[in-house]
C-alpha cells in the first residue's frame, strides 16, 4: 500500500531540492577556481606542513601518515565551509524576495524546509565532489563501500550544517549580520576541531575548553569518521569506539533538521529583511 500523501510529499521534497541543484550550474567558474585552489593546497601546502609535523605525530594517529590525516581534515572543512556558505545564498535570496515567492508556493512549510535543506546539502556534495576525487586519488582509496559511506556521511553532516545556517539566517534577517556570523562561525569552528590535529594532541595541550569543543564539534566527528573509514588503524585513537561518532552525527543532523522544519512551520514569515 502506497500512501498518496507520502509519495506526494517525497515528490515535493525532490522538486524543492531541485531548486538548488538548478542553480548549481551557474557556479562553474567559481567551482573551477575552488578546485584549482584546493589542488594547490593539497599538493603544495599540505605537503609542506606534513613535512614539518610528520614524525612526531605518528603515535597519536595510530600510525597514519600526517599528510593523509590532514587531507581528510581539509576535505571535511571544505564540506563544512561549502555547507555554511549556503547561508549567503539564502541571504541573497531573502534580499531579492525569493523567500516570499517560495513561501507562496502550494507546498507544506515543513516539506519545503526538508527540500531546501536536502537541495543545499546535495549541492554541497556535488560541488565538493571534484575535491573528494583529488583527495581519494592521492590516498589511493578504491574501495567502493568506503567511498559510498563517505559520501553518505558527508551528506548527513551537511544536512545538519545547512539546517543550522538556515535557522541562523532566518533568525537574524540581516545581510550584514549574516556575513559576520557565518564568517566567524566558519573560521572558528574549523580551528576548534580535529581538522589539523588528532584529539589526543588537543587533549595533551591542556586547554580544556579547546578539547571539549573539538570533541563535540561535528566537524571533528566527520573528519575522524572519514579517517576511520579509510584507515582502520586510526580507530585506535578512540577510547569509546566508533558508535558514539555515528550516533552523534545522526543526532546532530536530524536534531537541527527537525528544528528547521519546526521553524518553517511555526515562525517563518517573509519581510523584515535588513
Amino acid at each position: 500500500m502506497r500512501n498518496p500523501s507520502f509519495t506526494s510529499n517525497i515528490r515535493s521534497i525532490l522538486l524543492v531540492a531541485s531548486w538548488d541543484l538548478m542553480k548549481l550550474k551557474n557556479q562553474k567558474v567559481f567551482l573551477a577556481m575552488r578546485v584549482a585552489w584546493f589542488t594547490l593546497q593539497v599538493l603544495v601546502f599540505a605537503r609542506a606542513i606534513s613535512f614539518i609535523v610528520s614524525q612526531s605525530i605518528l603515535e597519536y594517529t595510530g600510525g597514519v601518515d600526517y599528510y593523509y590525516f590532514y587531507l581528510l581534515g581539509i576535505y571535511t572543512s571544505l564540506i563544512y565551509s561549502t555547507s555554511i556558505s549556503r547561508g549567503y545564498v539564502i541571504a541573497d535570496e531573502f534580499d531579492d524576495g525569493i523567500v516570499e515567492y517560495h513561501l507562496s508556493l502550494p507546498i507544506k512549510r515543513g516539506v519545503f524546509a526538508v527540500g531546501r535543506v536536502l537541495g543545499s546539502s546535495l549541492s554541497t556534495i556535488i560541488f565538493t565532489l571534484p575535491m573528494m576525487i583529488v583527495v581519494y586519488v592521492i590516498l589511493g582509496v578504491s574501495n567502493l563501500f568506503s567511498i559510498i559511506v563517505s559520501l553518505i556521511s558527508a551528506l548527513v553532516f551537511s544536512i545538519g550544517v545547512v539546517s543550522f545556517v538556515l535557522l541562523l539566517v532566518f533568525s537574524v534577517k540581516s545581510t550584514d549580520l549574516t556575513d559576520i556570523l557565518v564568517g566567524a562561525i566558519d573560521a572558528l569552528l574549523v580551528r576548534l576541531s580535529t581538522v589539523f590535529y588528532p584529539l589526543p594532541v588537543i587533549e595533551a595541550s591542556g586547554i580544556a575548553p579547546y578539547y571539549v569543543i573539538a570533541l563535540m564539534n561535528p566537524i571533528s566527528n566527520l573528519a575522524d569518521f572519514l579517517r576511520i573509514l579509510v584507515f582502520p588503524e586510526y580507530y585506535m585513537v578512540f577510547k569509546y569506539g566508533v558508535a558514539p561518532i555515528v550516533v552523534y552525527m545522526v543526532a546532530f543532523s536530524m536534531g537541527l533538521l527537525v528544528l528547521a522544519v519546526e521553524y518553517y512551520e511555526r515562525k517563518l514569515e517573509a519581510g523584515g529583511w535588513k
Binding site: 524543492v16 531541485s18 538548478m22 541573497d92 507562496s104 502550494p106
Partner: protein, 314 residues
C-alpha cells in the same frame, strides 16, 4: 447570494510599531475581478501577501473558501496563486527554467510542464526571451514572467499585484484581456493597482484603501455615484435659446449652466437622469444635436473620499 472566495475579517498587520493595515474587513466574491485601489504605501501589498500566507496577520484573520490563512495555510496556498509586485528572480535566472520549475512545483508532470510553459510564454510574448538572463529583460518583460506563474498555475484565486506597472501601453491592453479571460475561465482575480484607468478597465468591484484603512467599497458606478452631483449631462441643441419653462424644469433635476448652444446639467446618476432630460427637450420642441453623460473619474472619487490624489504629481 454570491458565494465568497475571500473573507477578510478585522485584519490588522503591524511591522513593529507601524500599522500597515488597520482592521480591514472585506469580502471578495467568487469569480469577480476585484480591485484594491490606493496610492503607494496604502497597504495593498501587505494585504495581498497575507492572503497568500507569505505574511501572518498581527490580528484578525483571512479566509479563502472558508480556510483560515493562519490555521490552514497549506490548504489556502493550494487555492491561491500570486504574481508579485516586484518580480521574484535572481539576476542570473532564466525565465524558461524558472517557469518550468514553477510548473512542476504547482503539480504538472514533466511533459505537461513543458507544454503549459511554452503555451503561456507564447501567449505573453515571452518565448523569444526564454533563455535570457533576468538582468537582460526590461521591467515590463519581468512583470510578464511574474504573471506567467499565475497563468501556469490556474489557481482558484489569482492575486496580481500591480500586474501592468512598467508594461508598455500596447501590452497593457493585451494583459487586461488575458486577465479577463482568466476570470472567464473561472478564476477569482484580485488586483492591486494605483492606476485608475486599469481599475476601470478590468475591475468589477473596487475597494479604495488609504493609509491602511478601507475608505470605500463598491462597483465602479456605485463609487462614482457616491460623489454628490458628480455626473455631468452635456447637451448641444439647435437654435439660439432655451425656453424659460424648459430651463425651470431642468433646474428641478440638477444644477444648470446654460450657454448659447450648450447646456450643462450637474446631476446624480446621470445615466438615469439623461432620459428625463431628453424627454423635457422633446416636450419643449428643442432639437438635441448631441448629448453626453460624463462621469467623474475614479481619481475624482478618490480625491473626494480621501482628500488626497491617487498618484502624486511627478
Amino acid at each position: 447570494m454570491k458565494s465568497k472566495a475571500v473573507e477578510i475579517e478585522n485584519f490588522t498587520k503591524k511591522f513593529g510599531d507601524f500599522t500597515a493595515v488597520d482592521n480591514l474587513n472585506l469580502d471578495i466574491y467568487e469569480n469577480e475581478v476585484f480591485g484594491l485601489l490606493g496610492p503607494n504605501g496604502s497597504g495593498k501589498t501587505t494585504t495581498l501577501l497575507t492572503i497568500a500566507t507569505v505574511y501572518k496577520p498581527t490580528s484578525g484573520d483571512i479566509y479563502v473558501y472558508g480556510h483560515s490563512v493562519t490555521r490552514e495555510d497549506y490548504v489556502v496556498r493550494k487555492l491561491v496563486g500570486i504574481a508579485f509586485q516586484d518580480p521574484k528572480a535572481m539576476w542570473i535566472d532564466k525565465p524558461y527554467e524558472l517557469l518550468t520549475w514553477h510548473a512542476r512545483i504547482v503539480g504538472y508532470s514533466s511533459s505537461e510542464a513543458k507544454k503549459v510553459v511554452q503555451d503561456v510564454m507564447e501567449l505573453l510574448g515571452l518565448w523569444e526571451h526564454r533563455n535570457k538572463q533576468f538582468y537582460q529583460l526590461s521591467g515590463g518583460t519581468r512583470k510578464k514572467v511574474e504573471l506567467a506563474k499565475v497563468l501556469i498555475q490556474k489557481p482558484r484565486v489569482a492575486i496580481l499585484d500591480e500586474p501592468t506597472a512598467q508594461v508598455d501601453v500596447l501590452s497593457k491592453h493585451a494583459l487586461w484581456d488575458v486577465i479577463k479571460k482568466l476570470r472567464d475561465e473561472g478564476t477569482t482575480v484580485i488586483i492591486a493597482t494605483n492606476d485608475m484607468f486599469e481599475a476601470e478597465k478590468v475591475c468589477e468591484r473596487i475597494a479604495i484603501i488609504y493609509k491602511g484603512k478601507l475608505r470605500a467599497l463598491g462597483t465602479i458606478s456605485e463609487l462614482k455615484d457616491s460623489i454628490p452631483s458628480g455626473d455631468l449631462v452635456e447637451v448641444q441643441f439647435e437654435g439660439g435659446g432655451i425656453p424659460e419653462g424648459l430651463l425651470r424644469a431642468l433646474r428641478d433635476i440638477g444644477r444648470v449652466e446654460a450657454r448659447s448652444s450648450v447646456l450643462k446639467v450637474y446631476v446624480e446618476k446621470g445615466e438615469e437622469k439623461v432620459i428625463d432630460i431628453i424627454e423635457l427637450f422633446r416636450r419643449y420642441n428643442v432639437k438635441i444635436l448631441r448629448i453626453m453623460v460624463k462621469e467623474p473619474t475614479l481619481d475624482d472619487v478618490f480625491t473626494y473620499i480621501t482628500g488626497a490624489k491617487l498618484r502624486e504629481e511627478s
